[in-house]
Symmetry: C2
DNA sequence: TATTTTTTTGTAATATTAACCCAAAGACAG
DNA sequence: CTGTCTTTGGGTTAATATTACAAAAAAATA
């Protein structure tokens, strides 16, 4: 079955199952070896890259819709999700599928709800959908060079901007790091998310003062040089700060 | 024309003009005499209070839709707006209009995009719509005692929570205060938004260090006691910080 | 009308606390 | 031993909290 037939068949089904005019798109952040990565797909149709996304079932919660879509793309359930912006320009997907009939599901005007997700890189098995030639992790630094569809580039940038702002109000790391991790690894995560270096001594002290770290009685052996201490998060404290926020002012 | 006829007539028109299943609701914040107020309407139908809101035209930007709605409710154009959350629970408006036919526009499942607006209290002339008995400013402290429809109370709380978080990354006041204002007034605004007292000396120094204030060569006469200096915002600096954000970390 | 009282503003001086930077000590591989 | 990386501690600077006080203006008093 060729791409055209596929997408026209899917169209009819989508009108049945989903709310019209509403889509969700997700910027999935992963962290591996000190670099920030996002999950992208590449369309068969026009070879453009795009974010994992989908539509909201007629009786489905929007958050659940995103979780369903991400489970299909990554094999992971229970993903940490937050809405970060809505993209409601009526022209945003106007040029898409120009050579298809106007009644095609995909040619509707879509208001897209933007989510970001934080996932453990190692748990993800990227799975392309039927209309994509690939689904893979892309280093954030390489995103600038890609041909990205519609407004998905600005979605990515906005997601990171909002994530950075929330970084000063909420703890982060539980969803991006393995269960046991070292302080240099946590610092590396913050540095890549913020895009700048932080002072080591201050970072250690700050993290310890927040009170979300539990030092384990073991160390990460095997690497060259001194073995760093392993930590895990104190989930009680972590979650309560996620709720109440760190106070500024 | 009675309420029932009215709403059924409006229904047909809404199906023509608006995107289905999508609504916008706005928490309009105003500031007067040291107290925080929000704009609320009271439904004729069931006497419940609700936020000014509406629907998105089939070829209208979501932000524009909110501006249109707020212009109708307040007479004000060029309102400062930010999206703060999406409310997508499929049950959120389930009980509404139980005694009306299922085909009624208002009985659809709606995913609502939540905005907050910051407006100059004195510029607003509240205007009820055809289905409401009143549209008025309500002191934020009195909101808790009101009978509020659907999830609009949690919308209000969430709006204030997000606004407080953004307060440490963005300047505020230009949209809520008169053009010329005093430092005690600005401090009062921050205190009511944050819900706590701030130290005078530190607040003064902090504000002056940010560099968004211009001290005028005049004072607020007429009140009792010492006449405070008048200030206005340095809009160039103000807007650039709105864009780039105040840096934490 | 002149003077005092009261209250708030604007700012300075000081103490306390937190953030920041640097470098020494500890640990481990080679 | 040596080099490199992790931790920790000390010293410094910046931010915040506390206190104090003079200046200003309306209101009260004489």
């Amino acid at each position: 079955m060729d791409f055209r037939t596929q997408i026209i068949n899917a169209s009819a089904e989508s009108y049945e199952k989903f709310l019209p005019h509403i889509s969700v798109d997700t910027v999935v952040f992963g962290f591996d070896q000190g670099s920030l990565r996002i999950l992208l797909l590449k369309m068969n149709y026009n070879k453009e890259w795009f974010l994992p996304g989908g539509y909201v079932g007629k009786n489905e919660d929007t958050d659940e819709a995103v979780k369903r879509v991400l489970h299909e793309r990554s094999g992971v359930k229970d993903i940490f999700l937050e809405e970060f912006a809505v993209f409601g320009n009526p022209q945003r997907n106007q040029q898409s599928f120009a050579d298809y009939p106007d009644t095609l599901w995909n040619k509707q005007r879509f208001i897209s709800i933007g989510y970001y997700a934080l996932v453990n890189y190692t748990h993800v098995v990227p799975q392309p959908d039927a209309l994509s030639e690939t689904c893979q992790w892309v280093d954030f630094k390489e995103v600038a060079a890609l041909n990205i569809t519609m407004d998905h580039r600005s979605m990515i940038n906005k997601a990171l901007q909002v994530l950075r702002e929330r970084l000063s109000h909420k703890p982060i790391g539980y969803n991006l790091l393995p269960e046991k991790f070292t302080l240099p690894e946590l610092q590396g995560l913050y540095e890549t998310l913020l895009g700048k270096k932080l002072n080591r001594g201050n970072f250690y002290r700050k993290m310890k003062n927040i009170g979300i770290l539990l030092k384990l009685d073991e160390q990460r052996k095997g690497g060259a040089h001194k073995a760093p201490d392993l930590y895990r998060f104190n989930l009680d404290v972590y979650n309560s700060i996620l709720q109440e926020g760190l106070n500024t002012w």
